[in-house]
Symmetry: C2
Subunit: 720 residues, 2 copies
């Protein structure tokens, strides 16, 4: 059977390549499917059976959309139409009667347009002829302003804004966007403990999906208690998620739960005459393959990488979500880290843009993203990075107005000093950390604000909006200047945490200091000062969330402290593994013991044991050990600076828009293979390095570099 399937897959591949330019796909107003799907997903959260929706504004898709494209056909052609919604179809402005499933487009130049109304789903079309096919080249608007005056003169529509249609991978006319579901596959428990009236199942590791009670029959009640830990599954009164069924079946049937859950352990309890043959699960996942990889001489690091990759997969779903057990909402700060990890593991751009679009929603802006000021800024910075990694200008061109209106919201909320502090309804998050002050002008927020303004300047340039590019650049420069005049303390040799009523506090925290390093906002002297006085200073309050550990370790990597970071990764992530973690957690405090680890938010099992922000080693190992990063958008140029960080050897791949960069590095040998752009390999060597395939240039004492050409492989002998 396997051979046959492969043959079909190959055939489909050839077919779709052969007709690549004419592949029809479902299209919609860009961003609208993402918003609609975000609403659906985020409103599936329950907490012990209570519906728990988000506390911020949810937007809707535009319900009335005009789609059109101009075609020039050598031959007339038959065109099939599939539409989500009530619609009309026109050729050159002349409408067909009714709701035709097939039309003929005559030879010659013709405009084909469809107008669709749909309130519950996203107006979407799938148009399939030989040449007349729906794809991202169609133009769409939510207000065509197509009026005709009393003389029969049509409006010029010059006030109408047309965007390129949005699409994803809905290439089957029978699978419209509204019936989108993630993939599933059946998995069995690795261990089952049956008792009278109960079954305790262990699926071997953290997982996610629908429980299936197979061969269910009889009369009585079934309650399912889910646990990320064994303790949680057994704690019937306090576990976070449950399912409850009233059964009255005379025949056996399989019963699949309606909602997905996160768990490793499942405690099924039943009474009356209920019997269950067996319990399995439908594992639910987004089918996206790993392109990045990492292996090294340390097996614990390899295990950490694998568990981090699995953690990221579990949290990469309809969108990049925060954690699979509890929230299952889209949080901008959490998602931002997933974008970065994604560039080193999956390189799945649709997951990034889906998430960005769902987070942004529509105008008017009435609060910060997720109500959190920092989360608004991560949204901007996420676009900055997205452009660096992918070079996707179209995304920026389409959504620049939404970037502007969100930035206008921020600008309108500056205080008299031109800085941002929490106003009514704003949440200043920064981190989950006891006693962290959110008062006044927090330095960390100004720093993210500056980078957001730089993002706006970059995007304004991309869309040829020169006046605003200049404005945003000036605003960014102003905020950066204030960052140092207001917060740099020569006494503390660091940026202080905040100013309250115009007076800087003497409180030093790690947040602004570590970001300032990898944002490259500091001269070398200040970088070293911060390293000594903040990052490596045990007097400064420690970070206990993997969320901020991500940035702390990134800052240390950016300062070349990989060896220190290696130890930290082994201690911190290794510490979770030692406690039996099969995915990485929302928070980890080595000082805690046993089931204490599972508590958070004042709830016994409140903590998420599978949180996206726990997967940061993927990013650190790819960017700062394999050392690959773009130096121009879309990896047109990029750098490779391998760092062993105390390991004997490292070996892996980093994906780019055009192929993967392979890197192997030991203390004596470096092997690289280039991707689509032009790379620069840079490394230190105590001896003169040698390569048969390239000319190696001496940059400064002991520092060398060489050019890595598109797709070529190189071997270098050197001595660390």
């Amino acid at each position: 059977m396997k051979r046959v399937l492969s043959f079909i897959a190959l055939f489909v591949l050839i077919t779709s390549t052969g007709f690549a330019q004419n592949q029809a796909t479902w299209i919609w107003y860009p961003g609208d499917f993402e918003i609609w799907l975000g609403n659906n997903m985020q409103n599936r959260r329950t907490e012990r059976g209570t519906f728990l929706p988000p506390f911020w504004k949810l937007d809707s898709h535009y319900n009335l959309i005009d789609f059109h494209k101009d075609f020039d056909l050598a031959q007339p052609e038959e065109v099939d139409l599939f539409v989500e919604g009530k619609f009309n179809v026109k050729i050159d402005g002349k409408a067909f009667s009714g709701y035709p499933k097939r039309i003929t487009v005559p030879a010659g130049k013709h405009k084909v347009s469809l107008k669709v109304f749909c309130q519950d789903r996203v107006p979407a079309i799938y148009v399939r002829g030989k040449n007349v096919v729906s794809d991202g080249t169609w133009l769409v608007t939510f207000e065509d302003k197509e009026w005709i005056d009393e003389t029969g003169k049509a409006s010029d529509q010059s006030g109408t804004t047309w965007l390129k249609a949005g699409s994803w991978n809905f290439n089957d006319p029978q699978q419209p966007p509204s019936i989108f579901k993630l993939n599933t596959k059946e998995l069995s428990a690795v261990n089952v403990t049956p008792k009278a009236g109960s079954l305790l199942l262990d699926f071997g590791r953290e997982t996610f999906g629908f429980i299936n009670l197979k061969g269910l029959t009889g009369k009585g009640q079934v309650t399912i208690y889910y646990g990320e830990s064994r303790e949680e599954a057994l704690a019937t009164a306090t576990c976070e998620t449950t399912d409850h069924l009233e059964i009255d079946l005379t025949q056996k049937r399989d019963s699949i739960m309606e909602l997905t859950k996160a768990f490793r352990y499942v405690n099924v309890q039943f009474d009356g005459s209920v019997s269950i043959d067996s319990v399995s699960m439908l594992y639910e996942y987004l089918p996206v393959a790993d392109r990045g990889s990492f292996r090294c001489s340390d097996e614990q690091i390899n295990k950490i990488y694998d568990v981090a990759a699995y953690t990221l997969h579990l949290n990469t779903r309809e969108f990049f979500i925060d954690g699979i057990k509890r929230d299952r909402w889209i949080w901008s700060g959490d998602a931002y880290q997933s974008y970065l990890m994604n560039y080193y593991l999956l390189f799945d751009s649709p997951s990034v843009t889906r998430t960005l679009l769902a987070l942004r929603g529509k105008d008017p802006v009435t609060s910060h993203i997720n109500t959190i000021m920092d989360y608004t800024f991560y949204w901007f910075i996420g676009i900055y990075d997205y452009y660096q990694y992918t070079g996707d200008k179209v995304f920026i061109q389409q959504f620049y107005p939404r970037m502007q209106s969100l930035m206008n919201y921020c600008l309108s909320r500056r205080n008299k000093n031109g800085l941002l502090e929490g106003l009514a309804g704003d949440w200043i998050f920064i981190d989950w950390a006891d006693g962290l002050s959110k008062k006044g002008e927090v330095s960390f927020e100004q720093l993210l604000f500056a980078r957001s303004l730089e993002t706006m300047a970059l995007c304004a340039t991309i869309v040829n909006d020169a006046p605003n590019a200049a404005t945003y650049n000036q605003l960014a420069a102003d905020v950066k200047t204030k960052l140092f005049t207001n917060y740099w303390s020569d006494t503390k040799q660091a940026l202080v945490h905040s100013r309250v009523d115009g007076v800087p506090t003497q409180n030093v925290t790690r947040y602004a200091n570590m970001f300032a390093i990898f944002f490259n906002y500091l001269d070398d002297a200040k970088k070293q000062a911060i390293k000594q006085h903040v990052l490596l200073n045990p007097e400064v309050p420690k970070i206990t969330t993997p969320y901020m550990r991500f940035y702390e370790l990134e800052a240390l990597c950016a300062l070349g402290e990989q060896s220190y970071v290696t130890k930290e990764i082994k201690d911190y992530w290794g510490g979770m593994l030692n406690l039996g973690a099969t995915s990485f957690w929302e928070e980890y405090n080595p000082a805690k013991k046993g089931a204490e680890h599972y508590a958070m938010y004042g709830r016994e099992f409140g903590k998420s044991l599978c949180h996206a922000w726990g997967a940061s080693p993927i990013y650190l190992l790819g960017k700062y050990y394999l050392g690959v990063k773009p130096t121009a958008p879309a990896y047109a140029t990029y750098s490779i600076e391998p760092q062993l960080g105390g390991l004997q050897w490292i070996d892996g791949k980093v994906p780019t828009p055009d192929g993967d960069v392979s890197v192997y590095c030991s203390t004596k040998e470096i092997k690289v293979t280039g991707a689509g752009g032009t790379g620069t390999l840079r490394f230190k060597s105590r001896t003169k390095p040698v390569s048969k395939q390239a000319t190696i240039r001496l940059v400064s004492t002991g520092l060398y570099e060489m050019t890595v050409e598109k797709g070529k492989s190189y071997e270098v002998n050197y001595q660390l």
Copy 2:
């Protein structure tokens, strides 16, 4: 049967009064049901079987709403919950599990809140306890910002805006807003002409509803051709609306058409073995009773009043619509006239606010209302009038932000002279009139702009926004000043039509001139000048639409020219009656002949024969003959200035928020009964007038007035 029904009606009245304070009703986010219903209605338009949706942006309801109210209960009470959407319910922030249908609210002070998600319908709730009932006193928001930080501290929600819940008359928990339908009743044709394979039905007058083919059976096709005229129903190739059915029935059944149509004549054609027993219709209507009335000594005027009232009823549906045959969209300029007529016939405020809300939609503003600049201004002015007639401050308090954002849109589009001219995508409508220039700065638009700014100043004052009240007043004064400096021509003794490139044209049209009169923007000299040089000047292009005839005749009435207007009404509306009109038309040109009258927009039957703007005699006769109008909001004070306009006697009622004002006036006798506020009766008399019930004051030579107290009746003997 009639007595029984009356008894039940009486019982319901007593019951609902007895428990008035605890009457539960379906509630939602204010304005959202109106937007949702507007989308539904406006997307039912078809043109010979082709779906024809609006060409402007349609908005959506908020899909996630938090509802709450604080209660203080002497006893615990059982509360039933009915919800449209997925929901949770909390008491004092503590959620119930699942989706309960009934909860118990304990005695004491408690906050009851529900949070509801719904994408296809409007999130709505119906809560029914003894005291805990859903009504317009509940508070709602689309973003509760109810977050809890790591210390368990809840957000203060001070950034959350709470509005009062919206409601209408959905008092039955089993009749949620989403299943709203207008009422129907079955009517028969007054004349049926059967032929082989066809039936031609005449329903006696213009009507609206669903055709019902009774006892339909056999196999074949049925096509229904609808006609507002006999000619149209017979013109199978060019009539505007049709229905087509493929029949294959072995048993007889009744078949009711899916969509309503407007018609007087219906031409049913069928083939094959199809047979039909009979054809009836389900007349569809909004159940709202006439409160205003008018009778006079002229039977033609009485007939005109009745047909105008019927025309307004036919166009008063889910919303005030333009015409029942073709558009069935909500047009702000058309609706504005319906608001005014409504105050003199139905006094149905929900119809006004439904229409205003559906027209306004949501932010952001991306075009003028209906894309038409003048129609944006009519929206503002409609609120000005609505407040004068009803005194409804809550509407203004709830929607002032939407007024501001629409005005900001207008202000942002001013040219360097501070005036408005058509920009890309703007439609400058004014009137359907051949050769009417829309170029440059049109005086008519500036005039409406000035009144809109005055509306904003009024509303800013109502919501205690003093700084903006001052700003809007200043802006209004500026535009009014410019109106006279830029457009008043001493040569023409009139406002000229427009300025192009800063130069006034020498073109005089009626539009700005007639509005300036009843907006009271002119001194007496200019009023008289305009009367002579514009209104009564046959050289100035004539108006051929009832739409602008409305304002032309209003201006003449405001100048005391009722006798002239009586003649005009008899000629113009009487002219339509003489042609057999059973409702008033979209346009009437006495110069046309026969079926020429039915053509418009280059289509043989393009004209609507039942257009709301044709019903203006209702307004003119109520406001300028019976002479009743508010002089303070909600008729707290009002004036009664009866004008016979050449008639022997007039007799009628004008509704107010608190009772009706009755007026009878002949050349010798005036009888009035006051409503809730304080009226002032003002009249001319050649002799000293006498009343037993009041003291009559002499105002100036031959002009008298007297006070009409709340609910009291007066008789005055005088001599015209």
